[in-house]
Amino acid sequence: MLNRIMTAHRQMDAACEKVGGQINIMEVCGTHTVSIFRNGIRPTLPRRLKLLSGPGCPVCVTDQGFIDVMLELAQHDDCIIATYGDMVRVPGRAGSLETNHLSNVKVVLSSDDALKLAEKHPDKTVVFIAVGFETTTPATAVAVGEADRKGIENFCVLSGHKLVIPAMRALLSDANNKIDAFLCPGHVSVIIGSEAYGEIVSEFARPCVVAGFEPMQIIEGLAEICRQIVRGTAQVGSVYQGVVSAAGNTTARKIVAEYFEPYDGYWRGLGTIAGGTLRLKDKYKRFDALERFGIEEIPAEELAGCLCGKVLSGLIDPPECGMFENKCTPDTPVGPCMVSSEGACAAWYKYGRIRKRRS
């Protein structure tokens, strides 16, 4: 292992040498962010190689309007809110699902669990808070399909599902972006296929390298990016071979396409992203929570004072936010990036402070 690490570091040094200035690599996904911090990878990298945490934390990019709609639905006594764990702590305008002490909030691990809740409580409407990227959407689609087939009409979905590629495109389209290359998430790539990054590479000439979440895979992913920089090329690469194919999982994508369609939804801090969010197709609208509760659309809102948007686009590191570590901590989170276990602020807080003094 030591040899592989040393080789990787030599390649990173070579890239920094060639560029002369700083190299900014964005890890798109929150799972990468956590693994990078938990394994203490940052302090081992060359000083001029900078990692930026990207928008791939589902809770973080879910906008304030969505959170408020969710909190509002939770006020309905005949509703059960079925949600992934991290969402219960995200603060909205008035408290969070956790601090509001609601007995009708159930933490589930999957959309299937939510559907089971609906079967168990036929007198209640179960609203599944469907957030996540390409990895979780297929399961939501399957659940809607099941509900449709079995006629489980007391089940519906508040969809905040998002797509990775439109977000990467939006980031690069911002003239202020500092991103030189992307480290792409293994699990999402299993679904969308490495081919999917082709458009980013050809349009913006930024290397996109897929890596798994093990520390060695991350280090080798970074090294592959650096090799491309040294060669002066920008390609789709993968250090996750054997797991990620070029075409991805077409079956999963077909299921999603049957139930969902992309629209221009609002992302926290990033604004409206063309084709970046998924909603249920007209055919399945009766399973859409917005439709069910007569909510026209999710309002576009931002949380005042929280710099999550800038963190999510790699423009600042969390400690540059004035609230980091004083007003905003995991015990008293102000923004979702401090709530989610995959959020950049939470990762910086939990793992980041390294003592410089001792050798």
């Binding site: 203490g40 990878i41 995991p330 807080y349």
Partner: protein, 353 residues
Amino acid sequence: MVQIRQDTKAAVVNQREDKKILLAHGGGGRLTSNLISSLILPRFDNEVLGKLTDSAAIELSSSSVLFTTDSFVVKPLFFKGGDIGKLSVCGTVNDLAVAGAKPVALSLSLIIEEGFETALLERILDSAANTAAEAGVRIVTGDTKVVEKGSADGIFINTAGIGTRVAGAELSFDKITPGDCIIINGTIGDHGMAIMSKREGIEFELSIESDCACLADLTCKILESTPGVRFMRDPTRGGVAAVLNEIAEGRRCDIEINEKPVPVNPAVKAAADMLGFDLLDIANEGKVLIVASQDSAEAVLNICRNHPLGRQGQVIGRVAETAAEAPIVEMITAIGGKRIVRTPYGRDLPRIC
């Protein structure tokens, strides 16, 4: 006394017929005494409890007595490697053990939800009784209350325990000195991940078993044969991360942990990775972190490795002087990186994807 014993047989029959706990079982009347005489006394039979006096009288061999209590509200009640009965005995025995005591006697109080199945109660009591017998402690007093349906979740158990201090075992934060070694007796995170996998209904292909065990035999052996032990604590809720931070703050020292030697069960690691957990944050129920002087670390490790509860024991870090205002716990990771270790937030929520 004799009266109650005579009732036992008839009561057992009644219990079987009822199959469920009724409010009247906690009402202090005939059903209560039936419950005590048929379900409880035969399992925890010892002369102190058998006297059924309002208070238990115990002779202690030392005047340095340690006393502790803990309540158990675990869900699920039964999990791989244990159940709430075993846990309620181990938990209190371990609190005494890591404070440097040899556990002598426990109390055991049950708060049962009306309608709870008698068969489950019997399993829980069997398990508590076996665990106590194995650990060599007696359950000398107790209480049973039944609450209305919905007022509790199945069964809650409280245990309290007393023990006598092992001669010379004066453990405290103040004793900790920079240079001391930090030792753990085995793999981390097993209990928490066993509970979590059962609770979330995730059937991991590799089965994960709780490490739930009474540590007193191991800790007493260590304390009796090595003078250099400064401090011990069992990393239950909040895991190893919480205890290391308690030590750092309590003694105002830095701690440096080495990830490589930290013993981990691969199945537990896989489950934690899948759910996005850091194993340092996850609860253990049969582990002890021992801070020992450099000179005695080897001896402590030897005792561990020759004991069934310490075969995978390892030195995982050391104590260092702190220069900063806020002491920190730092970890050298397996790939040679560095990060800090913080006390976890306290509610373990699995990640989304």
